[in-house]
């Protein structure tokens, strides 16, 4: 008989935690928090030029505005911050590096006063030449964005190249690629480009910082995915001990990686720590039109991929060169470069791999974490190249992928053996859902219909020291509190944790509460990123719940004088069927069991659990090889059935099928949500998103007027979301992450379907209406391949492709 019985354990469809207060609108986000009249407000003064020396900052007029308390400049807070590389200061010091960079902070009694006064700060600059093109910046630019790069602290697995614009260089050297290309039956080389894109969360960044005048302790309320990482990065940056910084993370309105790490907190902290302000809380709310200028966006890229194949159409070698445009900072952007690099085989079994992935500095807003973390970038290029190759060889794109995909035991590009997975079944399902081989007439008169598929793959991209811990408290009324510092930003992790605890303790889900992170009360978790939480924190939560259960059973065993294995937990009740005894979980667990000898024993039951991935070996810095570079991979695929309007370039998606091998579905409602949401986010990125600049580096798409994201009217006719479950060995319940994966394949799947529909191959994202229209126009002039990269104006693009070694 099963010793733990629960109706609300893993795998169930349940009403999600906090959905009720979200529906009512009473859940408080950071901007909703109330402080008293002592609250001060900060507004940012920004650079109008892309690169220059700051000659002077005159804020005398701003100080004269009634209600203004202080104006700070870069020198007032000269600390460097960064997760992997400390190349960021909250305000510019001596030099500005992008249009919009903060150069001063105005602090006032009211937000409107601060904003109006910010317009009165006068800054003089000496303009310097700027560089915007990442390929140019990487290969032959006289402009150095970070001349002091060699002085920045960094982790040892990030390799900045001093006296260049390369903030990180990740290499894969597996096998003998040169030989593979020499002996190849077929060699193909293609280029794909993609601009930076923005997260587009509905809630912008917001933080409130306060420093106690007596103890010096800092409290930060902030919209963040990673309360502990905010704490740690700030501690390192300002030289404070960890226990003197408290970070409270209210629910956030979307993260997608844009609120991972430390984003804007140091900027508000600069004001809160100033001797003239200290003691008062300072709120920094970033308005929509400034958000892309204050925190990171997704890196743009230029990719060149060469592929070698044998006569049997097996991929024998691949040579990847990716220039990731990381703007002015690689503090976080150094890592998506790695993540793409150590997965640069894609989903394929390729014995010989040469990859160079560069994080390149340019004078633009900076890149960092974004859902998919290097894999949407890699796969939106690689899956297009795979499709091109399959067509050139005259094989079905589905068969080509199935022939070359990695199976259990094949090695990745780092030499790590791939585990078992359900990709084949997913490909077959996706292919069937859109009837990929079937040529069907367009539903819209005059439009052209096409189908395409693309694969997705990603491992959690995290350092070997990304640890998790959790505390589970059993209350005297049989309810449970879980302290797990994951940020539930809507992906539903608190629901999943409650189900896990219910699975281990039998207690009904409604009686289990999970609370939002506070570094003072919660134990440490690295970050809510990398699709790691249900897996990594799940291990910790499960261990903590099991710890509670063991203590509970031990106490009841003594209380009832019966062996532990005769006791069962059933729907929140403790039972010993052998002895006919039952008990609710009640005050005894809090205030002690009166044992047969008359003594009180027990005391409150607290469970704890910790987890750290046990056997990660960092890839070798020269070869990228490692027997276990990542914990595991989640694989999947997307199929698109779409139509193209040749008269305008518009694309309409009839149906998309999107599936992933998640190992085990803990909370099916969450999975459905993540797949539906990420798929549309990927579609939106492909069809309409990209940061655009004028020739002086000014961002032309700072807000929703011109940075367009998908609305209800831009949704596909139908979206099918599904999953396979090939269990993960090291995992709380066999589950793997999936939060990011649905973002990876929609763009290349669309690209491949557009080719199938029209015969035009567009090598540059986004596939906006204008671009598709132009591509079709070019096609009528015999050009079937269309490339547009706005920065390659002075380096002729086609020539440049050959000269980038």
């Amino acid at each position: 008989m099963k010793p733990i019985k629960s109706q609300t354990g893993i795998g169930k469809w349940l009403p999600r935690k906090f959905d009720d207060v979200k529906a009512a609108g009473t859940l408080q986000f950071t901007d909703d928090l109330r402080f008293g009249p002592e609250l001060l407000h900060a507004a940012v003064v920004r650079s109008p030029i892309a690169h220059g020396e700051i000659l002077s900052i005159d804020f005398s007029q701003a100080l004269e505005v009634a209600g203004v308390v202080k104006v700070l400049v870069g020198e007032d807070f000269p600390h460097h911050f960064g997760l992997y590389l400390q190349d960021r200061t909250p305000m510019a010091i001596g030099r500005v590096r992008y249009v919009g960079e903060p150069v001063a902070l105005v602090v006032a009694q009211e937000e409107n006063i601060a904003r109006e006064a910010a317009k009165k700060v006068q800054v003089q600059y000496r303009e310097l030449e700027a560089v915007f093109d990442p390929v140019k910046a990487a290969t032959h630019s006289g402009v150095l964005v970070h001349p002091e790069l060699h002085t920045y602290n960094h982790v040892d697995f990030v390799l900045p190249q001093p006296h260049t614009n390369i903030g990180n260089w990740f290499k894969i050297r597996k096998g003998n690629p040169e030989e593979a290309f020499e002996n190849a039956a077929h060699v193909f080389e293609e280029v794909v480009t993609c601009p930076q894109i923005a997260h587009g969360f509905l809630e912008t960044h917001c933080s409130i910082c306060q420093q106690d005048i007596a103890s010096g302790e800092i409290t930060i309320w902030t919209s963040s995915q990673s309360a502990f990482t905010v704490r740690d990065i700030i501690a390192k940056g300002i030289g404070f001990p960890l226990h003197k910084i408290r970070v409270i993370a209210p629910p956030i309105g979307g993260g997608f990686g844009g609120k991972a790490g430390m984003t804007i907190e140091a900027l508000g902290l600069a004001a809160a720590m100033h001797p003239d302000i200290r003691g008062r809380p300072v709120k920094l709310f970033i308005p929509r039109e400034e958000d892309m200028l204050t925190s990171w966006v997704r890196q743009g890229y230029v990719a060149r991929i060469r592929m070698a194949l044998d006569e049997q159409h097996r991929i024998t070698g691949i040579h990847n060169t990716f220039w990731f445009d990381t703007g002015v900072s690689a503090e976080y952007g150094a890592n998506p470069v790695r993540s793409a690099g150590y997965t640069s085989m894609g989903s394929y079994n390729i014995p010989n791999v040469w990859s160079d992935c560069y994080a390149v500095y340019t004078n633009k807003p900076f890149g960092g974490a974004y859902r998919g973390f290097g894999l949407p970038e890699l796969m939106s290029a690689l899956e297009v190249v795979v499709d091109i190759v399959s067509h050139r060889l005259g094989i079905s794109p589905v068969e080509f992928r199935k022939k070359n995909m990695m199976r259990k035991g094949d090695t990745t590009c780092t030499g790590m053996p791939m585990h078992d997975h359900g990709l084949q079944a997913i490909i077959d399902r996706v292919a069937k859902d859109i009837a990929v081989e079937k040529k069907e007439p367009a539903l819209r008169p005059g439009w052209k219909r096409g189908k395409g598929i693309a694969l997705a793959i990603k491992a959690p991209a995290m350092p070997a020291d990304a640890s998790s811990s959790a505390i589970v408290k059993l209350n005297g009324d049989g309810t449970v509190e879980v302290l797990a510092a994951t940020m539930d930003m809507g992906q539903g992790t608190y629901t999943a944790y409650a189900q896990m605890v219910s699975e281990e303790l039998s207690i009904p889900y409604e009686k289990i509460q999970v609370s939002f992170p506070d570094t003072k009360s919660h134990p440490y978790d690295w970050q809510t990123v990398a699709s790691r939480s249900c897996w990594s924190m799940g291990m910790a939560v499960k261990r903590a719940a099991v710890d509670v259960r063991n203590q509970l059973l031990a106490l009841f065993s003594e209380f009832w004088q019966t062996p532990v294995d005769t006791i069962t937990l059933e729907y929140g009740t403790v039972m010993c069927r052998k002895l006919g005894k039952t008990s609710a979980i009640d005050e005894k667990v809090q205030n002690g069991f009166k044992m047969p000898d008359g003594m009180l024993k027990g005391g409150p039951i607290i469970g704890r659990g910790s987890f750290i991935p046990p056997d990660i070996v960092y890839p070798d810095p020269d070869t990228g090889q490692s027997p276990k570079s990542v914990v595991h991979f989640t694989l999947g695929a997307v199929g698109m059935d779409l139509e193209v309007d040749p008269t305008t370039g518009a694309i309409a998606i009839n149906r998309v099928s999107s599936g992933y091998d998640v190992g085990k579905a803990i909370t099916p409602a969450n999975l459905r949500g993540q797949i539906e949401g990420g798929t549309l986010q990927g579609i939106s990125a492909c069809l309409m998103e990209g940061l655009a600049y004028d020739e002086k580096g000014k961002l032309l798409t700072p807000d929703f007027t011109d940075y367009k994201i998908a609305t209800t009217l831009d949704t596909p006719g139908e979206i099918i979301s599904f999953w396979e479950e090939v269990p993960e060995e090291l995992s709380p319940y066999g589950n793997r992450g999936v939060g990011e994966h649905s973002m990876i394949a929609p763009a290349p799947a669309i690209n491949n379907a557009v080719f199938n529909a029209t015969g035009s191959r567009i090598h540059s994202y986004p596939l906006s209406r204008e671009r598709v229209f132009k591509a079709l126009k070019a096609q009528r002039n015999g050009e079937n391949d269309f490339v547009e990269w706005p920065y390659a104006l002075d380096v002729a693009f086609k020539k440049a492709k050959k000269k980038w070694d």
């Binding site: 317009k119 008269t647 032309l700 011109d706 998908a710 609305t711 209800t712 831009d714 209406r769 126009k777």
Partner: protein, 291 residues
């Protein structure tokens, strides 16, 4: 955003008095959906906003046998809900449905779209095509003015200090009429036009002598223009045929002068003008059963 005084007069007289008092420091506000954003962005910095929404006279929306009167305070949504407008003014209905989104339409006004005079204003081209006359009240009396006399450039009108556009007079097109507004955007909803084309036919069916055609545009010229040569061809045409359509499309391209900006290049805008002209013209013929 910059601070200002909000005045809410309840008569036209009171509104005029306020304009007199504040002179060029005052701006008129109907829905305010453009204006508030301009103030927020620092494009304009009025000291006083004169809100027209409490003046009953300006809330009029009426349809007679001769014309439709749209008061300055009538929202786009309210206009769309009026009876019979889809029969008489289908192009304006198209344009209103493509304007912003259902929420903003509950606030933005038809007259406001004209007075904002933004080249991409969706309602301007159809109102122009329907020969709309603005009724303008000033300190010295009232005057009447056509759309193309009123708008002289991007965000520039001939509205003089102290003047208020009180309503639009849109004559009913001579039946059988047909009309279409076609818009090119970057996505399906809530976007500023990359290009817009409006075509209106009125007068006797299949009688080229009395058929009147208007072909006007959004987002592709600094001020409202008509494609006169194209109109002429359409007025003469006996029926719809492809070569006539191509010629009309080419003439439409020649009538406009779009710019390149982050929303679209001038080349794409010209191509869309051609394509949307074909669509608008086909729709006009089809509606009259002449396809």
């Amino acid at each position: 955003m910059h601070d200002f005084l909000l005045e809410r007069p309840d008569t036209l007289r009171a509104a005029h008095d306020l304009l007199q008092r504040y002179g060029t420091k005052a701006m008129l506000k109907a829905g305010g959906t453009d204006l508030l954003i301009w103030i927020k962005r620092g494009v304009v910095l009025p000291e006083c906003l004169v809100d027209l929404s409490l003046i009953p006279l300006l809330q009029e929306l009426s349809l007679s046998e001769a014309e439709m009167c749209i008061g300055a305070g009538v929202s786009v949504a309210r206009f769309l809900s009026a009876e019979a407008i889809s029969t008489h003014f289908p192009a304006l209905v198209d344009a209103c449905n493509s304007h912003s989104d259902p929420l903003v339409r509950n606030r933005a006004t038809v007259v406001g779209n004209v007075c904002s005079a933004v080249p991409s204003g969706d309602l301007i081209a159809p109102l122009f095509a329907y020969d709309t006359q603005l009724e303008i009240h000033g300190p010295t009396g009232s005057r009447s003015c056509g759309i193309d006399e009123f708008i002289t450039g991007p965000r520039k009108t001939t509205l003089q200090p102290g003047e208020i556009v009180t309503c639009l007079h849109v004559p009913l097109p001579k039946p059988p009429s047909s009309g279409s507004y076609q818009k090119a955007m970057r996505r399906e909803a809530l976007d500023i036009a990359q290009a817009g084309v409006c075509c209106v036919f009125s007068g006797k069916a299949q009688d080229p002598v009395v058929r009147k055609v208007r072909l006007t545009f959004s987002a592709v010229s600094a001020k409202p223009v008509r494609a006169l040569k194209a109109e002429h061809i359409l007025e003469q045409a006996n029926q719809l045929d492809e070569s006539m359509l191509q010629e009309v499309a080419i003439l439409a391209r020649q009538a406009v002068a779009p710019i390149t900006d982050v929303r679209a290049s001038s080349e794409y805008r010209l191509d869309m003008v051609a394509e949307l002209t074909r669509r608008a013209v086909r729709a006009c013929f089809a509606e009259r059963g002449e396809a």
